[in-house]
Protein backbone atom coordinates (compact mmCIF):
# COMPACT_ATOMS: atom_id res chain seq x y z
CA UNK A 1 0.00 0.00 0.00
CA UNK A 2 1.38 3.43 -0.83
CA UNK A 3 2.54 5.43 2.15
CA UNK A 4 -0.04 7.96 3.16
CA UNK A 5 2.36 10.68 4.17
CA UNK A 6 4.24 10.99 0.95
CA UNK A 7 3.43 14.08 -1.07
CA UNK A 8 1.03 13.17 -3.86
CA UNK A 9 2.43 12.76 -7.33
CA UNK A 10 1.14 15.49 -9.63
CA UNK A 11 -2.28 14.73 -10.98
CA UNK A 12 -3.31 11.88 -8.78
CA UNK A 13 -2.89 9.54 -5.90
CA UNK A 14 0.52 8.77 -4.48
CA UNK A 15 1.97 6.30 -6.91
CA UNK A 16 4.13 3.55 -5.47
CA UNK A 17 7.14 4.54 -7.51
CA UNK A 18 7.80 4.52 -11.28
CA UNK A 19 4.75 3.82 -13.41
CA UNK A 20 4.04 0.12 -13.84
CA UNK A 21 4.42 -1.38 -17.25
CA UNK A 22 1.19 -2.76 -18.58
CA UNK A 23 2.46 -6.29 -18.76
CA UNK A 24 4.73 -6.48 -15.76
CA UNK A 25 4.19 -6.72 -12.08
CA UNK A 26 3.87 -3.34 -10.37
CA UNK A 27 6.85 -2.62 -8.22
CA UNK A 28 6.26 -2.93 -4.54
CA UNK A 29 4.15 -6.08 -4.84
CA UNK A 30 5.16 -9.69 -5.05
CA UNK A 31 3.95 -11.95 -7.83
CA UNK A 32 1.10 -13.33 -5.76
CA UNK A 33 -2.31 -13.10 -7.34
CA UNK A 34 -4.46 -10.24 -6.12
CA UNK A 35 -7.50 -12.42 -6.59
CA UNK A 36 -7.93 -16.14 -6.70
CA UNK A 37 -11.31 -17.73 -7.23
CA UNK A 38 -11.73 -21.51 -7.21
CA UNK A 39 -14.74 -23.68 -7.77
CA UNK A 40 -17.19 -20.86 -7.20
CA UNK A 41 -20.77 -21.99 -7.15
CA UNK A 42 -24.04 -20.24 -6.33
CA UNK A 43 -27.44 -21.79 -6.08
CA UNK A 44 -30.70 -19.93 -5.66
CA UNK A 45 -33.01 -22.69 -4.64
CA UNK A 46 -32.95 -25.09 -7.56
CA UNK A 47 -31.44 -22.56 -9.96
CA UNK A 48 -27.69 -22.84 -10.39
CA UNK A 49 -26.60 -19.32 -11.23
CA UNK A 50 -22.88 -19.98 -11.12
CA UNK A 51 -21.36 -23.40 -11.65
CA UNK A 52 -17.72 -24.11 -10.94
CA UNK A 53 -16.03 -20.87 -11.92
CA UNK A 54 -12.33 -20.45 -11.27
CA UNK A 55 -9.86 -17.78 -12.28
CA UNK A 56 -6.85 -15.88 -11.06
CA UNK A 57 -5.78 -12.29 -11.46
CA UNK A 58 -2.18 -11.24 -11.14
CA UNK A 59 -1.18 -7.77 -9.99
CA UNK A 60 -1.54 -5.14 -12.69
CA UNK A 61 -3.54 -7.43 -14.96
CA UNK A 62 -7.17 -6.91 -15.89
CA UNK A 63 -9.78 -9.53 -16.53
CA UNK A 64 -13.01 -9.41 -18.48
CA UNK A 65 -15.99 -11.54 -17.58
CA UNK A 66 -17.99 -11.72 -20.76
CA UNK A 67 -21.55 -12.92 -20.88
CA UNK A 68 -25.13 -12.00 -21.47
CA UNK A 69 -28.09 -12.00 -19.15
CA UNK A 70 -28.43 -15.21 -17.24
CA UNK A 71 -24.75 -15.99 -17.61
CA UNK A 72 -24.06 -15.49 -13.93
CA UNK A 73 -21.42 -12.83 -14.42
CA UNK A 74 -23.09 -10.35 -12.11
CA UNK A 75 -23.56 -13.04 -9.47
CA UNK A 76 -19.84 -13.76 -9.62
CA UNK A 77 -19.15 -10.07 -9.06
CA UNK A 78 -21.55 -9.96 -6.14
CA UNK A 79 -19.88 -12.93 -4.54
CA UNK A 80 -16.44 -11.40 -4.93
CA UNK A 81 -17.57 -8.17 -3.32
CA UNK A 82 -19.32 -9.99 -0.53
CA UNK A 83 -22.84 -8.93 -1.48
CA UNK A 84 -23.72 -12.56 -2.09
CA UNK A 85 -22.50 -15.63 -0.29
CA UNK A 86 -21.12 -18.51 -2.37
CA UNK A 87 -22.76 -21.87 -2.00
CA UNK A 88 -19.38 -23.49 -2.58
CA UNK A 89 -15.93 -22.45 -3.56
CA UNK A 90 -13.29 -20.08 -2.30
CA UNK A 91 -12.40 -16.47 -2.92
CA UNK A 92 -9.01 -15.23 -1.85
CA UNK A 93 -8.07 -11.59 -2.25
CA UNK A 94 -4.67 -10.15 -1.38
CA UNK A 95 -3.83 -13.41 0.30
CA UNK A 96 -6.85 -13.40 2.59
CA UNK A 97 -9.87 -15.61 2.31
CA UNK A 98 -13.21 -13.92 1.84
CA UNK A 99 -15.46 -16.81 0.97
CA UNK A 100 -17.55 -16.23 4.06
CA UNK A 101 -19.13 -12.98 5.22
CA UNK A 102 -16.94 -10.62 7.22
CA UNK A 103 -17.18 -11.14 10.92
CA UNK A 104 -16.35 -7.72 12.26
CA UNK A 105 -16.73 -4.12 11.20
CA UNK A 106 -12.97 -3.86 10.87
CA UNK A 107 -12.95 -6.91 8.63
CA UNK A 108 -15.67 -5.43 6.45
CA UNK A 109 -13.79 -2.21 6.06
CA UNK A 110 -10.56 -3.97 5.25
CA UNK A 111 -12.30 -5.95 2.55
CA UNK A 112 -13.69 -2.68 1.25
CA UNK A 113 -10.17 -1.43 0.82
CA UNK A 114 -9.25 -4.48 -1.23
CA UNK A 115 -12.09 -4.79 -3.71
CA UNK A 116 -14.43 -2.07 -4.91
CA UNK A 117 -17.16 -1.88 -7.51
CA UNK A 118 -18.68 0.60 -9.93
CA UNK A 119 -22.19 -0.25 -11.06
CA UNK A 120 -23.87 0.15 -14.38
CA UNK A 121 -26.63 2.64 -13.79
CA UNK A 122 -25.31 6.11 -13.10
CA UNK A 123 -28.73 7.21 -11.98
CA UNK A 124 -29.05 4.93 -8.99
CA UNK A 125 -25.46 4.28 -7.99
CA UNK A 126 -25.19 7.53 -6.04
CA UNK A 127 -27.19 8.66 -3.03
CA UNK A 128 -29.38 11.39 -4.54
CA UNK A 129 -28.95 13.50 -1.42
CA UNK A 130 -25.18 13.55 -1.37
CA UNK A 131 -22.82 15.68 -3.35
CA UNK A 132 -19.76 14.06 -4.87
CA UNK A 133 -17.58 15.55 -2.17
CA UNK A 134 -19.81 14.18 0.54
CA UNK A 135 -19.95 10.72 -1.01
CA UNK A 136 -16.18 10.52 -1.35
CA UNK A 137 -15.70 12.07 2.07
CA UNK A 138 -17.90 9.46 3.67
CA UNK A 139 -15.76 6.67 2.26
CA UNK A 140 -12.58 8.35 3.45
CA UNK A 141 -14.04 8.76 6.89
CA UNK A 142 -14.93 5.10 6.90
CA UNK A 143 -11.41 3.94 6.15
CA UNK A 144 -9.23 6.60 7.75
CA UNK A 145 -9.43 8.71 10.86
CA UNK A 146 -7.92 11.75 9.21
CA UNK A 147 -8.35 15.37 10.24
CA UNK A 148 -10.74 17.37 8.07
CA UNK A 149 -8.17 19.25 6.04
CA UNK A 150 -6.27 16.16 5.05
CA UNK A 151 -9.51 14.54 4.04
CA UNK A 152 -10.47 17.57 1.98
CA UNK A 153 -7.13 17.41 0.27
CA UNK A 154 -7.62 13.80 -0.73
CA UNK A 155 -11.15 14.52 -1.91
CA UNK A 156 -9.71 17.21 -4.13
CA UNK A 157 -7.14 14.81 -5.55
CA UNK A 158 -9.70 12.15 -6.30
CA UNK A 159 -12.09 14.59 -7.89
CA UNK A 160 -9.33 15.87 -10.11
CA UNK A 161 -8.21 12.35 -10.91
CA UNK A 162 -11.59 11.48 -12.37
CA UNK A 163 -11.76 14.68 -14.36
CA UNK A 164 -14.40 16.65 -12.47
CA UNK A 165 -14.11 20.29 -11.55
CA UNK A 166 -14.86 21.70 -8.12
CA UNK A 167 -18.29 22.97 -9.13
CA UNK A 168 -19.32 19.49 -10.23
CA UNK A 169 -17.89 18.02 -7.05
CA UNK A 170 -20.20 20.18 -5.00
CA UNK A 171 -23.26 19.41 -7.11
CA UNK A 172 -25.98 16.93 -6.32
CA UNK A 173 -26.26 13.95 -8.67
CA UNK A 174 -29.40 15.39 -10.24
CA UNK A 175 -27.40 18.22 -11.69
CA UNK A 176 -24.85 15.90 -13.24
CA UNK A 177 -24.95 13.97 -16.49
CA UNK A 178 -24.63 10.20 -16.68
CA UNK A 179 -20.94 10.36 -17.51
CA UNK A 180 -20.24 12.78 -14.69
CA UNK A 181 -22.07 10.56 -12.22
CA UNK A 182 -20.02 7.59 -13.25
CA UNK A 183 -16.92 9.63 -12.61
CA UNK A 184 -18.20 10.32 -9.12
CA UNK A 185 -18.87 6.62 -8.63
CA UNK A 186 -15.32 5.86 -9.76
CA UNK A 187 -13.89 8.47 -7.41
CA UNK A 188 -15.88 7.04 -4.55
CA UNK A 189 -14.65 3.53 -5.32
CA UNK A 190 -11.05 4.70 -5.59
CA UNK A 191 -11.26 6.54 -2.28
CA UNK A 192 -10.86 3.19 -0.61
CA UNK A 193 -7.67 2.57 -2.60
CA UNK A 194 -8.68 -0.88 -3.72
CA UNK A 195 -6.38 -3.38 -5.38
CA UNK A 196 -9.24 -4.57 -7.52
CA UNK A 197 -11.95 -2.47 -9.10
CA UNK A 198 -14.93 -4.30 -10.53
CA UNK A 199 -16.60 -2.45 -13.37
CA UNK A 200 -20.03 -3.99 -13.70
CA UNK A 201 -21.13 -2.78 -17.14
CA UNK A 202 -20.00 0.60 -15.91
CA UNK A 203 -19.84 2.24 -19.32
CA UNK A 204 -22.77 0.46 -20.94
CA UNK A 205 -25.29 3.15 -20.12
CA UNK A 206 -23.15 6.00 -21.39
CA UNK A 207 -23.24 7.80 -24.71
CA UNK A 208 -20.58 6.66 -27.13
CA UNK A 209 -18.58 9.86 -26.91
CA UNK A 210 -18.71 9.86 -23.12
CA UNK A 211 -17.90 6.17 -22.99
CA UNK A 212 -14.67 6.89 -24.80
CA UNK A 213 -13.74 9.55 -22.25
CA UNK A 214 -14.44 7.25 -19.33
CA UNK A 215 -12.50 4.37 -20.92
CA UNK A 216 -9.51 6.65 -21.39
CA UNK A 217 -9.90 7.76 -17.80
CA UNK A 218 -9.95 4.18 -16.57
CA UNK A 219 -6.78 3.42 -18.50
CA UNK A 220 -5.11 6.50 -16.99
CA UNK A 221 -6.18 5.51 -13.49
CA UNK A 222 -4.76 2.07 -13.97
CA UNK A 223 -1.46 3.50 -15.08
CA UNK A 224 -1.30 5.70 -12.02
CA UNK A 225 -2.52 3.35 -9.35
CA UNK A 226 -1.80 -0.15 -10.69
CA UNK A 227 -5.31 -1.21 -9.80
CA UNK A 228 -6.58 -4.41 -11.44
CA UNK A 229 -9.88 -4.22 -13.26
CA UNK A 230 -12.50 -6.88 -13.51
CA UNK A 231 -14.65 -5.71 -16.37
CA UNK A 232 -18.05 -7.29 -16.60
CA UNK A 233 -19.47 -6.61 -19.99
CA UNK A 234 -21.19 -7.97 -23.03
CA UNK A 235 -19.59 -5.28 -25.20
CA UNK A 236 -16.66 -7.01 -26.84
CA UNK A 237 -15.08 -3.84 -28.18
CA UNK A 238 -14.87 -2.37 -24.68
CA UNK A 239 -13.51 -5.67 -23.44
CA UNK A 240 -10.77 -5.49 -26.02
CA UNK A 241 -9.89 -1.96 -25.11
CA UNK A 242 -9.57 -2.44 -21.40
CA UNK A 243 -8.57 -5.99 -20.52
CA UNK A 244 -5.71 -8.43 -20.89
CA UNK A 245 -7.50 -11.67 -20.17
CA UNK A 246 -11.07 -12.76 -20.64
CA UNK A 247 -13.37 -15.49 -19.47
CA UNK A 248 -16.68 -16.17 -21.18
CA UNK A 249 -19.66 -17.29 -19.18
CA UNK A 250 -22.80 -18.92 -20.43
CA UNK A 251 -25.61 -20.00 -18.17
CA UNK A 252 -23.44 -20.09 -15.12
CA UNK A 253 -20.59 -22.00 -16.66
CA UNK A 254 -17.21 -20.80 -17.74
CA UNK A 255 -17.01 -21.83 -21.36
CA UNK A 256 -13.85 -20.19 -22.55
CA UNK A 257 -10.84 -18.40 -21.18
CA UNK A 258 -7.63 -16.92 -22.46
CA UNK A 259 -5.91 -13.70 -23.42
CA UNK A 260 -8.53 -11.20 -24.59
CA UNK A 261 -7.01 -10.86 -28.03
CA UNK A 262 -7.04 -14.60 -28.63
CA UNK A 263 -10.56 -15.10 -27.30
CA UNK A 264 -11.88 -12.39 -29.59
CA UNK A 265 -9.84 -13.16 -32.68
CA UNK A 266 -10.03 -16.92 -32.50
CA UNK A 267 -12.94 -18.04 -30.34
CA UNK A 268 -13.06 -21.75 -29.71
CA UNK A 269 -16.38 -22.31 -28.01
CA UNK A 270 -19.53 -22.11 -30.16
CA UNK A 271 -21.11 -19.62 -27.82
CA UNK A 272 -18.14 -17.30 -27.98
CA UNK A 273 -18.20 -17.61 -31.73
CA UNK A 274 -21.84 -16.71 -31.82
CA UNK A 275 -21.22 -13.77 -29.54
CA UNK A 276 -18.42 -12.55 -31.73
CA UNK A 277 -20.54 -12.92 -34.84
CA UNK A 278 -23.37 -10.87 -33.32
CA UNK A 279 -21.40 -7.68 -32.98
CA UNK A 280 -22.45 -5.00 -35.46
CA UNK A 281 -19.65 -3.62 -37.59
CA UNK A 282 -19.38 -2.09 -41.02
CA UNK A 283 -20.57 -4.58 -43.57
CA UNK A 284 -22.28 -6.81 -41.01
CA UNK A 285 -25.67 -8.23 -41.78
CA UNK A 286 -27.69 -9.91 -39.06
CA UNK A 287 -28.84 -13.42 -39.83
CA UNK A 288 -31.38 -15.60 -38.19
CA UNK A 289 -30.69 -18.88 -36.63
CA UNK A 290 -33.28 -21.42 -35.64
CA UNK A 291 -34.95 -20.59 -32.38
CA UNK A 292 -34.16 -23.25 -29.81
CA UNK A 293 -37.18 -23.26 -27.49
CA UNK A 294 -35.42 -24.69 -24.49
CA UNK A 295 -33.18 -21.65 -24.27
CA UNK A 296 -35.98 -19.18 -24.07
CA UNK A 297 -37.85 -18.48 -20.90
CA UNK A 298 -41.42 -19.52 -20.76
CA UNK A 299 -41.10 -23.12 -21.88
Amino acid sequence: MPEQDRAPAPGGLAAPGPAAESNGTPPGTDGRPVLEVTGLRKEFGTLVAVDDVSFTILPGRSLAIVGESGSGKTTVARMITGLERPTRGTITACGRDRSRPARSARDRRRRGSEIQIVFQDPYTSLDPRQTAEQAVGEVLRLHHGWPADRRQGRIGQLVELVGLDSRQARALPRALSGGQRQRVAIARALAAEPRILILDESVAALDVSIQAQVLNLLADIRDETSVSYILISHDLAVVRQLTDEAIVMYRGRLVERGPTARVLDDPQHPYTQRLRASVPRPGWKPSRRQLVPSEEKGD
Binding site: G82, L83, A102, G112, T124, S125, R129, L176
Partner: protein, 294 residues
Protein backbone atom coordinates in the same frame (compact mmCIF):
# COMPACT_ATOMS: atom_id res chain seq x y z
CA UNK B 1 -26.51 22.22 -15.54
CA UNK B 2 -29.59 20.11 -16.03
CA UNK B 3 -28.81 16.82 -17.62
CA UNK B 4 -29.50 16.47 -21.29
CA UNK B 5 -32.36 14.04 -21.01
CA UNK B 6 -35.61 15.91 -20.75
CA UNK B 7 -37.71 12.82 -20.30
CA UNK B 8 -41.02 11.85 -21.80
CA UNK B 9 -43.02 14.16 -19.58
CA UNK B 10 -40.82 17.07 -20.52
CA UNK B 11 -40.53 17.94 -16.87
CA UNK B 12 -37.49 17.62 -14.69
CA UNK B 13 -38.18 17.25 -10.97
CA UNK B 14 -36.19 19.57 -8.80
CA UNK B 15 -34.74 18.17 -5.62
CA UNK B 16 -36.58 19.10 -2.45
CA UNK B 17 -33.43 20.11 -0.68
CA UNK B 18 -32.81 22.76 -3.28
CA UNK B 19 -36.21 24.35 -3.03
CA UNK B 20 -36.49 24.66 0.69
CA UNK B 21 -39.70 24.43 2.67
CA UNK B 22 -41.29 27.49 1.08
CA UNK B 23 -40.64 26.23 -2.37
CA UNK B 24 -42.04 22.86 -1.41
CA UNK B 25 -45.23 24.45 -0.16
CA UNK B 26 -45.55 26.58 -3.23
CA UNK B 27 -45.36 23.52 -5.40
CA UNK B 28 -48.35 21.96 -3.67
CA UNK B 29 -50.62 24.42 -5.38
CA UNK B 30 -53.27 26.78 -4.07
CA UNK B 31 -55.08 24.10 -2.12
CA UNK B 32 -51.85 22.97 -0.53
CA UNK B 33 -50.86 26.47 0.45
CA UNK B 34 -54.29 27.28 1.86
CA UNK B 35 -54.12 24.10 3.91
CA UNK B 36 -50.69 25.03 5.17
CA UNK B 37 -52.08 28.37 6.33
CA UNK B 38 -54.92 26.69 8.19
CA UNK B 39 -52.50 24.32 9.83
CA UNK B 40 -50.21 27.16 10.80
CA UNK B 41 -53.10 29.02 12.40
CA UNK B 42 -54.19 25.92 14.29
CA UNK B 43 -50.64 25.41 15.50
CA UNK B 44 -50.40 28.96 16.75
CA UNK B 45 -53.69 28.50 18.56
CA UNK B 46 -52.50 25.27 20.04
CA UNK B 47 -49.55 27.06 21.55
CA UNK B 48 -51.08 30.38 22.47
CA UNK B 49 -54.78 29.52 22.58
CA UNK B 50 -55.36 29.83 26.28
CA UNK B 51 -53.60 33.21 26.28
CA UNK B 52 -55.63 34.48 23.38
CA UNK B 53 -58.98 33.52 24.83
CA UNK B 54 -60.90 36.72 25.58
CA UNK B 55 -62.89 35.17 28.39
CA UNK B 56 -62.33 32.41 30.88
CA UNK B 57 -63.04 29.14 29.10
CA UNK B 58 -63.63 27.18 32.26
CA UNK B 59 -65.86 29.40 34.34
CA UNK B 60 -69.46 28.32 34.13
CA UNK B 61 -72.28 30.82 34.39
CA UNK B 62 -75.51 28.97 33.96
CA UNK B 63 -77.47 32.15 33.62
CA UNK B 64 -75.84 32.69 30.25
CA UNK B 65 -76.30 29.18 28.91
CA UNK B 66 -77.17 28.80 25.22
CA UNK B 67 -77.29 32.51 24.54
CA UNK B 68 -76.31 33.24 20.96
CA UNK B 69 -73.62 35.62 19.64
CA UNK B 70 -73.85 39.02 21.39
CA UNK B 71 -71.44 41.81 22.13
CA UNK B 72 -67.91 40.49 22.51
CA UNK B 73 -69.02 36.90 22.46
CA UNK B 74 -68.74 36.14 18.75
CA UNK B 75 -69.94 32.58 19.01
CA UNK B 76 -72.23 32.85 21.98
CA UNK B 77 -72.30 30.62 25.04
CA UNK B 78 -72.30 26.88 25.54
CA UNK B 79 -74.51 24.73 27.73
CA UNK B 80 -72.77 25.88 30.87
CA UNK B 81 -72.69 29.53 29.96
CA UNK B 82 -69.02 29.60 28.95
CA UNK B 83 -67.85 31.66 26.00
CA UNK B 84 -67.67 29.31 23.04
CA UNK B 85 -64.92 31.15 21.21
CA UNK B 86 -62.70 31.17 24.27
CA UNK B 87 -63.33 27.51 24.78
CA UNK B 88 -62.45 26.74 21.20
CA UNK B 89 -59.23 28.69 21.45
CA UNK B 90 -58.29 27.02 24.69
CA UNK B 91 -59.35 23.64 23.40
CA UNK B 92 -57.03 23.86 20.45
CA UNK B 93 -54.18 22.74 22.64
CA UNK B 94 -55.48 19.37 23.66
CA UNK B 95 -57.12 18.87 20.29
CA UNK B 96 -53.79 19.27 18.50
CA UNK B 97 -51.39 17.75 20.99
CA UNK B 98 -53.21 14.46 21.06
CA UNK B 99 -52.81 13.81 17.33
CA UNK B 100 -49.25 15.05 17.49
CA UNK B 101 -48.41 12.44 20.09
CA UNK B 102 -50.14 9.76 18.08
CA UNK B 103 -48.28 10.68 14.93
CA UNK B 104 -44.94 10.90 16.68
CA UNK B 105 -45.41 7.58 18.40
CA UNK B 106 -46.66 5.63 15.42
CA UNK B 107 -44.18 7.14 12.98
CA UNK B 108 -41.19 6.38 15.14
CA UNK B 109 -42.29 2.86 15.93
CA UNK B 110 -43.45 2.20 12.40
CA UNK B 111 -40.35 3.62 10.79
CA UNK B 112 -38.02 1.61 13.00
CA UNK B 113 -39.82 -1.62 12.26
CA UNK B 114 -40.10 -0.81 8.57
CA UNK B 115 -36.42 -0.06 8.19
CA UNK B 116 -35.37 -3.16 10.12
CA UNK B 117 -37.69 -5.35 8.10
CA UNK B 118 -36.62 -3.71 4.85
CA UNK B 119 -32.95 -3.98 5.64
CA UNK B 120 -32.72 -7.48 6.99
CA UNK B 121 -35.49 -9.00 4.94
CA UNK B 122 -35.74 -12.79 5.16
CA UNK B 123 -37.20 -14.41 8.30
CA UNK B 124 -37.07 -11.25 10.41
CA UNK B 125 -39.13 -9.44 7.83
CA UNK B 126 -41.63 -12.26 7.78
CA UNK B 127 -42.04 -12.15 11.55
CA UNK B 128 -42.40 -8.40 11.66
CA UNK B 129 -44.87 -8.37 8.80
CA UNK B 130 -46.92 -11.08 10.45
CA UNK B 131 -46.98 -9.13 13.70
CA UNK B 132 -48.09 -6.02 11.87
CA UNK B 133 -50.81 -7.95 10.09
CA UNK B 134 -52.20 -9.00 13.44
CA UNK B 135 -52.17 -5.44 14.70
CA UNK B 136 -53.97 -4.35 11.57
CA UNK B 137 -56.96 -6.28 12.71
CA UNK B 138 -57.56 -3.96 15.66
CA UNK B 139 -59.43 -0.80 14.83
CA UNK B 140 -58.00 2.19 16.63
CA UNK B 141 -61.12 3.01 18.54
CA UNK B 142 -61.48 -0.50 19.84
CA UNK B 143 -57.97 -0.39 21.21
CA UNK B 144 -58.72 2.99 22.77
CA UNK B 145 -61.77 1.57 24.49
CA UNK B 146 -59.67 -1.29 25.82
CA UNK B 147 -57.02 1.14 26.98
CA UNK B 148 -59.62 3.26 28.73
CA UNK B 149 -60.98 0.19 30.43
CA UNK B 150 -57.57 -0.86 31.64
CA UNK B 151 -55.87 2.43 32.38
CA UNK B 152 -58.81 4.73 32.91
CA UNK B 153 -60.15 7.33 30.53
CA UNK B 154 -57.86 10.17 29.45
CA UNK B 155 -55.84 11.58 26.61
CA UNK B 156 -52.69 9.61 27.39
CA UNK B 157 -54.28 6.21 27.21
CA UNK B 158 -56.15 7.14 24.06
CA UNK B 159 -53.05 8.52 22.36
CA UNK B 160 -51.00 5.46 23.19
CA UNK B 161 -53.72 3.15 21.94
CA UNK B 162 -54.02 5.00 18.67
CA UNK B 163 -50.26 5.04 18.21
CA UNK B 164 -50.24 1.30 18.38
CA UNK B 165 -53.22 1.04 16.08
CA UNK B 166 -51.68 3.32 13.46
CA UNK B 167 -48.24 1.83 13.60
CA UNK B 168 -48.87 -1.03 11.14
CA UNK B 169 -50.17 1.44 8.55
CA UNK B 170 -47.03 3.45 8.76
CA UNK B 171 -44.84 0.39 8.77
CA UNK B 172 -46.46 -1.04 5.68
CA UNK B 173 -46.04 2.11 3.63
CA UNK B 174 -42.52 2.76 4.82
CA UNK B 175 -41.43 -0.84 4.47
CA UNK B 176 -42.03 -0.68 0.75
CA UNK B 177 -39.98 2.47 0.47
CA UNK B 178 -37.25 1.04 2.67
CA UNK B 179 -37.02 -2.06 0.55
CA UNK B 180 -36.81 -0.01 -2.59
CA UNK B 181 -33.96 2.07 -1.20
CA UNK B 182 -32.29 -1.06 0.08
CA UNK B 183 -32.22 -2.46 -3.42
CA UNK B 184 -30.55 0.57 -4.92
CA UNK B 185 -27.00 0.17 -6.16
CA UNK B 186 -25.71 3.02 -4.05
CA UNK B 187 -26.61 1.07 -0.94
CA UNK B 188 -24.74 -1.94 -2.30
CA UNK B 189 -21.78 0.32 -3.00
CA UNK B 190 -21.77 1.42 0.62
CA UNK B 191 -21.98 -2.16 1.82
CA UNK B 192 -19.01 -3.05 -0.32
CA UNK B 193 -17.19 -0.14 1.24
CA UNK B 194 -17.69 -1.84 4.57
CA UNK B 195 -20.20 0.55 6.10
CA UNK B 196 -22.38 -0.99 8.76
CA UNK B 197 -26.07 -1.65 8.21
CA UNK B 198 -27.07 0.76 10.96
CA UNK B 199 -25.09 3.65 9.55
CA UNK B 200 -26.40 3.03 6.05
CA UNK B 201 -29.97 2.94 7.34
CA UNK B 202 -29.62 6.09 9.40
CA UNK B 203 -27.52 8.14 7.04
CA UNK B 204 -28.91 7.08 3.70
CA UNK B 205 -32.07 5.05 3.72
CA UNK B 206 -34.10 7.09 6.18
CA UNK B 207 -33.13 10.48 4.72
CA UNK B 208 -34.18 9.28 1.31
CA UNK B 209 -37.52 8.27 2.72
CA UNK B 210 -38.12 11.63 4.37
CA UNK B 211 -40.50 13.06 1.78
CA UNK B 212 -42.67 10.00 2.18
CA UNK B 213 -42.42 10.10 5.96
CA UNK B 214 -43.44 13.74 6.09
CA UNK B 215 -46.34 13.15 3.74
CA UNK B 216 -47.54 10.14 5.69
CA UNK B 217 -47.28 11.98 9.01
CA UNK B 218 -49.31 14.89 7.67
CA UNK B 219 -52.13 12.69 6.45
CA UNK B 220 -52.13 10.69 9.65
CA UNK B 221 -52.46 13.80 11.75
CA UNK B 222 -55.85 14.32 10.22
CA UNK B 223 -56.95 10.75 10.91
CA UNK B 224 -55.67 10.90 14.46
CA UNK B 225 -57.55 14.08 15.08
CA UNK B 226 -60.81 12.55 13.92
CA UNK B 227 -60.27 9.40 15.92
CA UNK B 228 -59.28 11.28 19.07
CA UNK B 229 -62.25 13.60 18.71
CA UNK B 230 -64.48 10.56 18.43
CA UNK B 231 -62.86 9.01 21.48
CA UNK B 232 -63.30 12.21 23.44
CA UNK B 233 -66.84 12.44 22.18
CA UNK B 234 -67.45 9.01 23.65
CA UNK B 235 -66.09 10.22 26.94
CA UNK B 236 -63.02 8.04 26.86
CA UNK B 237 -60.48 10.69 25.96
CA UNK B 238 -60.13 14.15 27.36
CA UNK B 239 -62.50 14.44 30.28
CA UNK B 240 -64.88 17.38 30.71
CA UNK B 241 -64.74 20.12 31.85
CA UNK B 242 -61.33 20.39 30.13
CA UNK B 243 -61.73 22.25 26.86
CA UNK B 244 -61.38 20.02 23.82
CA UNK B 245 -63.12 20.18 20.49
CA UNK B 246 -64.32 16.61 20.58
CA UNK B 247 -65.63 17.01 24.10
CA UNK B 248 -67.36 20.21 23.07
CA UNK B 249 -69.28 18.44 20.35
CA UNK B 250 -70.46 15.88 22.81
CA UNK B 251 -71.33 18.07 25.75
CA UNK B 252 -73.16 20.59 23.57
CA UNK B 253 -75.00 17.98 21.59
CA UNK B 254 -78.33 18.38 23.45
CA UNK B 255 -78.34 21.97 22.21
CA UNK B 256 -78.71 20.92 18.60
CA UNK B 257 -82.19 19.57 19.02
CA UNK B 258 -83.18 22.40 21.27
CA UNK B 259 -82.35 24.97 18.62
CA UNK B 260 -78.91 25.98 19.79
CA UNK B 261 -76.60 24.22 17.34
CA UNK B 262 -73.79 26.75 17.27
CA UNK B 263 -71.55 25.57 20.14
CA UNK B 264 -71.51 21.97 18.98
CA UNK B 265 -71.21 22.78 15.32
CA UNK B 266 -68.50 25.37 15.85
CA UNK B 267 -66.32 22.74 17.46
CA UNK B 268 -67.18 20.34 14.65
CA UNK B 269 -66.20 22.87 12.02
CA UNK B 270 -62.86 23.41 13.72
CA UNK B 271 -62.12 19.72 13.65
CA UNK B 272 -63.27 19.25 10.09
CA UNK B 273 -61.39 22.30 8.88
CA UNK B 274 -58.11 21.27 10.41
CA UNK B 275 -58.51 17.65 9.32
CA UNK B 276 -59.25 18.61 5.74
CA UNK B 277 -56.25 20.91 5.73
CA UNK B 278 -54.01 18.08 6.90
CA UNK B 279 -55.49 15.66 4.43
CA UNK B 280 -55.14 17.99 1.48
CA UNK B 281 -51.60 19.04 2.30
CA UNK B 282 -50.63 15.50 3.13
CA UNK B 283 -51.92 14.15 -0.15
CA UNK B 284 -50.16 16.85 -2.11
CA UNK B 285 -46.94 16.07 -0.32
CA UNK B 286 -47.53 12.40 -0.97
CA UNK B 287 -47.86 13.02 -4.68
CA UNK B 288 -44.63 14.98 -4.63
CA UNK B 289 -42.89 12.19 -2.77
CA UNK B 290 -44.08 9.62 -5.27
CA UNK B 291 -43.10 11.77 -8.21
CA UNK B 292 -39.67 12.41 -6.78
CA UNK B 293 -39.06 8.70 -6.52
CA UNK B 294 -39.68 8.04 -10.21
Amino acid sequence: MVSAAVGVTGRAARPVSRRGVLGLLRSTGVAGMASAVVIAVATVLAVFGPLLAPYNPKLPDLGMAWIGPTGGHLLGFDFEGRDVLSRLLAGAQSSMIGPLAVVAGSMVLGAVLAVIAGWRQGPLDTVISAGLDILFAFPGILLAVLAAAVFGAGLTAAAVALSIAYMPYVARVLRGAAMKERGQPYVAALEVQGASGTSICLRHIVPNMLPLIVAQATIMFGWAMVDLAAISFLGLGVQPPAPNWGVMISENQPGILQGYPLPSLAAGVCIVGVVIAFNVLGERLFEQAQAARQ
